[in-house]
């Protein structure tokens, strides 16, 4: 069946590149992840539940998920303000501030970790004035929260930025000319069109903060049940050769991560439906 005349011409190499892609993907990503799930099947359901609901694990999961949620909320609000100021206003240093929003992406997490710890330590530049107000940051759950806020900064800003730039100015003008005041225009016209991007950024920041390790462990204090995050507990269980425990915690975290990806994909589709392509 060679060279059917009506067929659209396509480029060569599909079979080869697709084969290599799938092979490489399987070796580096899929097989190792499958190994994790396989390992967890060595546990009975009761054992699995036992591990995951043990006091220390449950507390670590609560700390990781709870603080990540709060940090992502801060990222949502502050990210919204930052992206608005960066896109809509002109002020000195705007381009530099725009560029450094990506620092948490680029700065190695261990560097961020020791920098934040030193900054917020009781004798640190910010820690000292805060200590006088009676607020301790480094080596407390508040420190974990601070590190998670840091690591999540770019997500909301970078997901909302292109949408806000492309937002049609006419809809705002229309709202204003129909008698809406500025606040009504922002809250009823602009905010709803940014909502999918805002929520996507929130979800990405949340997912990142839940799994974050390097920037958190220095500032956390790492007290079991108080300031011990789930990824650290995985590392501790591994060092104790309690592989089953480490695996069970990892499976719970992975399942939540998959849920977040799924939600983000759905949101992106929703956004595409709401905003017709122009």
């Amino acid at each position: 069946m060679k060279g059917g005349s009506g067929r659209r011409r396509t480029l060569p190499g599909f079979g080869l590149t697709m084969g290599l892609t799938l092979t490489w993907l399987s070796i580096i990503i899929l097989l190792p992840l499958a190994g994790l799930f396989l390992k967890s099947f060595e546990l009975s359901l009761a054992q699995f539940v036992d591990i995951v609901t043990s006091r220390r694990t449950l507390n670590a999961l609560k700390i990781s998920f709870g603080l990540a949620f709060l940090a992502a909320l801060v990222n949502l609000v502050m990210g919204g303000i930052i992206v608005w100021a960066l896109v809509r206003y002109r002020f000195p240093g705007r381009r530099i501030f725009d560029a450094i929003v990506d620092v948490p992406f680029a700065l190695p997490t261990a560097v961020a970790g020791i920098a934040l710890t030193t900054l917020f330590a009781q004798n640190g530049w910010l820690g000292a004035p805060l200590a006088e107000l009676g607020i301790k940051v480094s080596f407390t759950p508040l420190g974990i929260f601070v590190a998670m806020v840091f690591i999540g900064i770019p997500f909301v800003v970078r997901t909302v930025q292109p949408v806000l730039i492309d937002l049609d100015p006419e809809i705002e003008e229309a709202a204003a000319s129909l008698g809406a005041n500025r606040w009504q225009t922002v809250s009823r016209v602009i905010l709803p069109s940014l909502l999918p991007a805002l929520l996507t950024g929130f979800a990405l920041a949340f997912a990142r903060a839940v799994g974050e390790y390097g920037s958190v462990i220095f500032i956390a204090g790492n007290l079991p049940n108080v300031s011990e995050i789930a990824p650290l507990l995985i590392v501790i269980r591994l060092s104790e050769f309690r592989y089953a425990d480490a695996t069970a915690i990892a499976v719970v975290m992975l399942l939540v991560a998959f849920l977040v990806i799924f939600a983000v994909n759905r949101m992106q589709r929703w956004a595409q439906l709401r905003v017709p392509a122009h």
Partner: protein
């Protein structure tokens, strides 16, 4: 006097702008927040690194342990960036230039490492290659050391940095379509010629962009590498791992000296990224709007 005596209102009545005080407040919040969370941490890295002067800083970097960490970090980055460069290109070709069922799923799978905790990215390799792992006994019998050695570190880093190159290329290549390649092929160019003479020049900035980000992450990866490295001093410590060890030993100048190199790498990466983004924007949108 010919000039009108009426003061020009300072407040713009444009329907698309906020009152002056709101603008001031939002700009103030932005500057304060980014200064506290980003500028100060960056500044403190260098302040601490040079806290005891330039000599102590240089001595910390000249230390044999630091040297071996720098060397290992560079080797690991070359391996994992090289692998991801080649396979990122291949994957981007397959995904961006063809239509096939399951495309969205494949893209999600390629992006998967972004959503996995770095610690878990290390853990999966311990479960595969560790003494209690699936392949552990076989590796031991054949005297192959993957874990707590260079191959394990490179593998975990490759896992973590897997999406960077293809993710930078796929949207770019999709936008460029297949017309130019089809023209080259119809003029008699071979597939490889088409790739190297048509596709590659078109995507070179996007490729550089992906490689830069991939490299920054590869050199800075901490969680995944920490799990598979074994922390053997002078042997399996990358720069981020050495930062941790020195910091926990209260050798702050040394820890921050090495951290300052990594921070410098991050800053250079960001500058290059900003320049490249302008390049890419110009290529994609002929007119500024």
């Amino acid at each position: 006097m010919p000039k009108p005596a009426i003061a020009v209102p300072l407040e713009r009545t444009d329907a698309r702008s906020e009152p002056r005080w709101v603008r001031g407040l939002l700009i103030g919040f932005t500057i304060l927040f980014l200064t506290v969370f980003i500028v100060l941490p960056l500044v403190i890295v260098f302040a601490e690194a040079f806290a005891r002067g330039t000599y102590a800083y240089l001595a910390a970097l000249a230390d044999p342990e630091a040297q071996s960490a720098i060397k290992l970090t560079l080797i690991v980055a070359v391996i994992s960036v090289g692998l991801n460069l080649v396979f990122g290109l291949i994957a981007a070709w397959a995904i961006a230039k063809f239509e096939f069922p399951g495309k969205t799923l494949l893209i999600s799978l390629v992006d998967l490492p972004f959503s996995v905790s770095p610690v878990i990215s290390g853990l999966v390799f311990v479960l595969l290659f560790g003494a209690q792992g699936f392949l552990g006994p076989w590796l031991q019998d054949n005297n192959i050391q993957l874990l707590f050695a260079l191959p394990g570190i490179a593998l975990a880093t490759t896992f973590v940095t897997f999406p960077f190159v293809s993710r930078a290329l796929i949207p770019l290549m999709q936008e460029q379509g297949t017309a130019e390649e089809e023209a080259a092929l119809s003029l008699g160019a071979s597939g490889l010629q088409t790739f190297f003479r048509v596709t590659l020049p078109n995507i070179k900035w996007g490729l550089l962009y992906g490689v830069l980000l991939c490299n920054a992450r590869a050199m800075g990866e901490f969680g995944a590498v920490s799990v598979v490295s074994g922390h053997i001093r002078g042997e399996t410590n990358t720069m981020p791992l050495l930062v941790e060890i020195l910091y926990n030993e209260y050798q702050f100048v040394s820890a921050f000296a090495i951290a300052s190199l990594l921070a410098l790498l991050a800053l250079v990466t960001l500058v290059a990224k900003t320049v490249l983004e302008r390049h890419l924007d110009e290529g994609q949108r002929p007119s500024e709007h």
